[in-house]
Symmetry: C2
């Protein structure tokens, strides 16, 4: 199954509960937009593209299960649902992008209630389907950057689980592997929620890609000893100048790559590029609860003294000077990013 998908029989959203992997494979079924918003906030589903598709399906739930008697009432319900979904997490731009696209698709609509419901569901399904197709195009572009024998450092999870299917940075790695290139992946475990050790490892097991897990703080060690030739990451939001907001730790990884002359690539669908934001300083960074740092993942066992506090920013910004190139579905974008990113977004 896909990471998130529509159940046409039951008019439900089904998504893989990513909090439980790799120990347990469980599918959550959601029947209203509030459940979808909660699933995004609580990271049942995570990854910028997967969040975008989930939000779109959240609106589809509102439409398909609405008790509205007319088009205007349904439009009002959709707007309320969109506002709630939009605030589920602040950093990934795909959330807003998908909701804007959904609302925009209805803006010139002047048919009846049932047609509007069908249009909303069809648009959500399109977003999901296009995500898979876009990822495969990105993977083909990005795989050109990988050479036979490369060891690649990867941060967080950017695979099928972070998208509707296939993945961004991990999709590039998977493509290179399927092309027969002999590669090895060092997976940053990605504290505090360990998406690398849990989710990316689980995916690479299934694809048969050789990997080892490393602590985030040891990437510099391997880079400084010539034990990694490429770094690939995703992005939750990329500013117009190529500054990359991504999972916390990406910035320090990029510094270590730069210090050792190792290329650092961000793999980002154009839906993740926010041309309205001039630089990364302006991207809102979510700070999550201290308990994610203080309690070991799912162990329910505090690691720190009673009463200890913690800070928990979920993302950071990697300045464009540390980014070697940005891989999009429309090709590989080189610096100057402020000139070349808008062209890529425009499909040129």
């Amino acid at each position: 199954m896909r990471t998130v998908e529509w159940d046409y029989k039951l008019n439900e959203v089904r998504m893989i509960d990513q909090r439980l992997l790799p120990g347990e494979f469980k599918v959550a079924t959601l029947s209203d937009f509030q459940q979808v918003a909660d699933a995004i906030t609580n990271m049942v589903v995570r990854g910028a593209p997967a969040i975008g598709a989930s939000a779109a399906f959240g609106l589809a739930l509102t439409a398909m299960r609405s008790k509205a008697n007319d088009v205007q009432s349904l439009r009002t319900e959709l707007q309320i649902a969109a506002d709630t979904l939009r605030s589920a997490r602040p950093t990934a731009v795909n959330l807003g992008w998908a909701l804007d696209r959904m609302i925009s698709a209805t803006s010139t609509f002047d048919g009846g209630l049932v047609q509007l419901q069908e249009l909303i569901l069809a648009e959500a399904q399109s977003i999901a389907d296009e995500d898979v197709e876009i990822n495969k195009r990105m993977a083909a572009h990005g795989a050109e950057l990988i050479e036979d024998g490369d060891t690649i450092i990867h941060h967080c999870n950017t695979g099928a689980l972070a998208t509707v299917d296939w993945g961004t940075a991990l999709g590039v790695i998977r493509m290179a592997h399927e092309q027969g290139k002999r590669i090895h992946v060092l997976l940053d475990e990605t504290r505090p929620r360990l998406q690398g050790a849990r989710l990316s490892a689980w995916e690479l097991e299934q694809y048969g890609v050789p990997y080892e897990i490393i602590t985030d703080n040891s990437a510099g060690y391997f880079l400084s000893r010539g034990q990694a030739q490429k770094v690939f990451v995703g992005s939750d939001r990329t500013a117009a100048n190529g500054d990359v907001a991504n999972k916390i730790g990406t910035y320090m990884l990029a510094l270590a790559a730069k210090d050792n002359g190792v290329p650092f690539y961000a793999v980002v669908p154009t839906s993740t590029i926010d041309l309205s934001i001039a630089s990364g300083d302006l991207i809102p960074i979510e700070e999550r609860g201290a308990e994610e740092v203080l309690d070991l993942q799912r162990a329910g066992q505090p690691i720190s003294p009673h009463g200890a506090g913690a800070r928990n920013p979920a993302f950071d910004v990697t300045p464009n000077r540390l980014v070697s190139a940005i891989v999009t579905e429309n090709g590989i974008v080189q610096a100057p990013f402020d000139i070349n990113l808008p062209k890529a977004v425009g499909g040129k």
Copy 2:
């Protein structure tokens, strides 16, 4: 009690079992050098100065509990014990430094068996006592670098638990706090063994120093937002050129400090400076077992898929170009380190 100490009534070594903190305060009692070597390898005791003192007491155990009938037999026993202790962990230089000093103290000895035993114990006790005194001198020097209102990022544990008492980098922080400076500490949790979240947090609770725990990968975020003004770390071995081998993650932290113009200070007793090693490239880096990465600390619960591999280097090397100054018990050493470190080691 001290982190490691001699029990004069029972002729035993007592040390705080640091694997159990902060959940449990338990004192291990050791009665032969092999137990001491195991305690060092398994990290019952850790931290370069604490390891050095423990090794010295390991030789004292051999001496005081020896069944040797003559001085030569005891010397042979001591040499065997020293060889075992020396290989307990490879990176920290204090281990070899303390053992060399112990053996050297006996080299011109020409008395009887009992006097040799007493001399060995007295030398071990001197190493332990001097460690505390040296740390306090370092703390006084280092505290001059801290200003009222500073937020300080600290890596691993370098406090009383990493030494015989008082600490190195954390000792500097404690001293600044006791001088009445209002400071805040962001403690790197320090994966995989979480010495920061467990041990440094436990110490700062007791000293009353305000702190928060952060993931190692988020230090760059706080530095880039101007939320930290200083970085203080310890060192397991510092090369003659000022390259600093320290707990894994130190190098990436130093890069992030440099990238944001934040001073990065290493606090190192001269016993940790290895003038026989020209640069950090030559320092042996211990790689420990994968299970430290794959199993959450003490949770006995794997975080990764069955069969996942991991790499686990315990230390890395921070090049001297990233080091703002090195604090020793003989004062604050500035670059060029290859000129100034030997002077500091010589007490000038």
